[in-house]
């Protein structure tokens, strides 16, 4: 009766944007007479922070302070199309639409400032809310004054629109799965080490530490990225050792209908989570960003499964790795079937053992 420690490794990749693309996001921006910026987009904020990220992108792209931005995603009357907040697409796809809209606004501000200052707009730039002549920083006009001039003097509304859409990547050969275009907006990568402690008496697996490295493309807001990575890690821990709608799957009985009967990870389950961020920018995401929200719960379950094997010498490949499964596996100590150069694990779980021939899994040798 003892506690055993183990470590497991996993490396994963995950696409940004809807698989096969074809998922538009749009944005439009208007500028108030004092230069404050109103951004309209249809991207729901599910806690991921899309309101924050898109506001940052617009502020950075135009060249105004962050707190000049109002962000409105509140309804489908004022906001243009956004396919939605899923498929790790909010920062990349919707963010790109915001960047494009902001570039138009910037251009318009420079044009009107050019008229006011009688300087070619290409010789102007916007720095921290002021339009400044390149190389002559004493010649400047605040963005607020430009917006006022547009409104009261030129009779113009400063606006910008942006849309991001990668064309749908069709499967041109259903036999091979070949596609005619890249089916993703970007791909991101991560690696994870899980340390566990397994109690061979109770069967309990405790995840002690998760060390993770993500290629985030560009950390648009490192704190928000950490939030995705840490929150995802806890969800991955749940997948690995706690959560199950159907505790006796495939049976549908004993489904938990309350937090008291469904094991969502709680504070008591927390491991130490170490985050390493690498920035390998995407070619065409806003400021090089990649989407990492969803993949954040993918590397932990396999790293935990490998760590459990490292600790107690049994492979448990049905999730979650519950105390019951640990104890049963320790008791059974099932060895793989070895036939020639084949090593066959989990034979009892295979369709070959359960189906009456309706479906088989044949492996050449």
């Amino acid at each position: 009766m003892a506690k055993h420690t183990g470590r497991g490794i996993a490396a994963i990749e995950y696409p940004t944007g809807m698989n096969q693309n074809g998922d538009p996001s749009q944005c439009w921006i208007k500028v108030k007479p004092d230069g404050r910026i109103d951004v309209f987009a249809g991207t729901a904020d599910i806690g991921n922070g899309s309101k924050t990220i898109q506001s940052q992108i617009v502020a950075e792209t135009i060249g105004v302070p962050y707190d000049w931005i109002t962000y409105d995603n509140s309804n489908t009357d004022s906001s243009p199309v956004c396919t939605g907040t899923f498929a790790s697409r909010a920062t990349f796809v919707a963010g790109k639409a915001a960047e494009k809209a902001a570039l138009q606004v910037k251009q318009k501000i420079l044009e009107i400032a050019g008229k006011e200052l009688e300087i070619d707009p290409t010789d102007l730039e916007i720095v921290d809310g002021e339009v400044v002549a390149k190389g002559a920083p004493q010649t400047k006009l605040s963005v607020g004054d430009v917006a006022a001039a547009a409104t009261w003097g030129h009779g113009e509304l400063i606006t910008g629109t942006g849309a991001q859409l990668k064309p749908y990547a069709a499967i041109i050969d259903p036999e091979t799965g070949e596609v005619d275009l890249p089916p993703h907006s970007a791909i991101s990568y991560a690696a994870c080490s899980a340390e566990v402690e397994v109690d061979d008496e109770t069967g309990e697996v405790r995840v002690v530490r998760l060390q993770q490295c993500y290629d985030v493309g560009r950390a648009m807001n490192p704190t928000l990225v950490e939030g995705q990575i840490e929150g995802g890690a806890m969800m991955g821990l749940g997948l690995g050792v706690l959560e199950n709608c159907y505790p006796y799957y495939p049976s549908v009985e004993h489904r938990g209908g309350a937090f008291g009967s469904y094991l969502a990870p709680g504070m008591e389950d927390m491991p130490q989570i170490d985050t390493i961020m690498i920035e390998n920018p995407s070619a065409d995401g806003p400021y090089g960003a990649k989407g990492i929200g969803e993949m954040a719960n993918n590397p932990q379950p396999p790293a935990i499964a490998a760590a459990v094997h490292d600790a107690i010498g049994v492979w448990i490949t049905e999730l979650p790795i519950t105390p019951e499964r640990v104890l049963r596996a320790l008791e059974a100590k099932t060895e793989p079937r070895r036939e020639g150069k084949k090593v066959v694990f989990d034979g009892e779980l295979s369709v070959n053992a359960v189906s009456k021939g309706g479906i088989t899994f044949e492996v050449p040798a």
Partner: protein, 456 residues
């Protein structure tokens, strides 16, 4: 000035910590009715009778809807992508999972609505139910669906998603070792702290304002408009602030039915699922059944991979065909494997329909491929980090469907993890990069893998 890259506080951070963020349940509209659903108590049954007259006659009940009230009964989120809809908004003559909605009541209070649900007379004829995806293909298996037990509408009229690459027979023939395993991640609840909820208000101009917790305002707008058969500008979705969403709130689970009740009662309607409904009736992450066989050389090259995936979709397709396709595109994980044979099926069972959840389609692959590779490393006596770095996608390597990778980082992320855990890598692994393969890292079997990154 640097805004991008800065650790700026959340745009709505102060609103969150002062309790001022408005979620759907915080919207209060005078005269609002409460909705409650009659749900199937059976996993699989025919509906023999359905009589709502007693419920409708109860004092305080302002409207009851059944399938007869839905202008377009079947519409799916993926209809726009040519994936045929299979799920009625409200069950018509058959229920295929416990918890499936059959009728919806609007009444003056939540309690009255619940009493009226109990007063609906409904008769069932129980039918055999299917729960094990591995039995779905047998001739004596219970039939879940009019389409059969698996989804038949992939491109080319195929009943499965296929990937074929290289010469799988040769890879297994040339292998030193073949490792086989079965991987089965579980169904998971999304369990956001805010349950599914909507509030629909009839406006003076005939429009409907839908306060929604959807993760996808325009997706949901399209779905509601299609079921109601109205133009998009008849509806206004108010939302954008969601009390947690992990995929399940892409489902548009409440909005359409609440709109139909509003049209019937001409009063505002609120439908807030109880936590028990959220757990027992809302869609889950799918359970998956994956069988993997890899053809390995003794020094740790993956020559080929054969895979069978059964995606337990539950009773209806919803996003599952999309999820399985994504799964197939990523079924090699972070590795370049030249010879592939993948068959995947979306299998129907009599459980709650599954839907997208964080990592959709790929969480399963990551578990299967990575656990399997750990097993392979152990079996071959190789280092688990080195075997991953050796086979990792490089710039220019091609994906299962022939697309060249442009900016992979598996090698960097693994080097960082090796450093973090104090795992000493050999010199050639310490200096390894993502650049296209050459020399020892371009064995003969990978030569044909290198594609063109131009135009991507």
């Amino acid at each position: 000035m640097k805004v991008v890259g800065a650790r700026i506080p959340r745009y709505d951070g102060v609103a969150h910590v002062t309790g001022r963020t408005t979620y759907v349940d915080d919207v209060s509209v005078p005269g609002t009715l409460w909705a409650k659903a009659l749900r199937s108590p059976h996993h699989h049954a025919g509906i023999t009778t359905l009589d709502t007259s007693k419920a409708e006659a109860m004092p305080g009940v302002r409207g009851v809807i059944t399938w007869k009230d839905v202008p377009l009964l079947e519409y799916g989120h993926l209809s726009a992508l040519g994936i045929p809809a299979d799920e009625p908004l409200l069950a018509k003559d058959e229920v295929r999972y416990r918890g499936q909605p059959i009728a919806l009541v609007a009444a003056e209070s939540e309690e009255l609505a619940a009493e009226a649900v109990d007063a609906i007379e409904v008769g069932f004829e129980e039918r055999p139910a299917l729960f094990d995806v591995r039995e779905a293909f047998d001739s004596d298996a219970p039939k879940v669906h009019q389409w059969g037990n698996w989804y038949p509408h992939f491109e080319g009229e195929m009943d499965r998603r296929q990937i074929r690459k290289g010469d799988i027979e040769r890879a297994f023939d040339e292998a030193d070792t073949i490792v086989q395993g079965v991987y089965r991640p579980a169904a998971i609840e999304h369990a956001p702290i805010e349950t599914q909820v909507c509030q629909v208000v009839p406006e003076a101009n005939g429009r409907l304002t839908i306060y929604s917790c959807t993760q996808a305002l325009y997706f949901s707008l399209g779905v509601v408009a299609a079921h109601l058969q109205v133009p998009l500008n008849r509806l206004k979705i108010v939302g954008g602030t969601t009390g947690g969403g992990f995929g399940g709130k892409v489902d548009t689970a409440t909005e359409t039915m609440a709109c139909l009740l509003v049209l019937k009662a001409n009063r505002p309607v609120k439908w807030r699922w109880t936590r028990e409904e959220e757990f027992l009736c809302s869609s889950t992450r799918a359970p998956w059944h994956m069988e993997l066989a890899t053809a390995m050389t003794k020094d740790g090259w993956i020559l080929g991979q054969k895979m069978l995936t059964l995606h337990d979709a539950g009773a209806y397709a919803r996003f599952s065909p999309y999820g399985l396709t994504k799964h197939s595109f990523h079924h090699t994980g972070a590795y370049s494997i030249p010879n592939l044979h993948f068959d995947g099926y979306v299998v129907f069972t009599n459980r709650t329909p599954t839907t997208a959840m964080r990592g959709f389609g790929v969480t399963s692959v990551s578990f299967a491929v990575e656990t399997h590779l750990s097993r392979v490393a152990k079996e071959l006596g190789l280092d688990p980090i080195e075997i991953r770095m050796r086979n990792a996608n490089r710039i220019g390597d091609t994906s299962p469907n022939g697309v060249a990778y442009t900016d992979p980082s598996t090698i960097d992320t693994l080097q960082a993890i090796a450093d973090a855990i104090g795992h000493e890598l050999p010199a050639d692994y310490r200096t390894m990069t993502n650049e296209p393969r050459a020399g020892e890292l371009l064995p003969e079997h990978l030569v044909a893998q290198v594609g063109s990154t131009e135009g991507h």
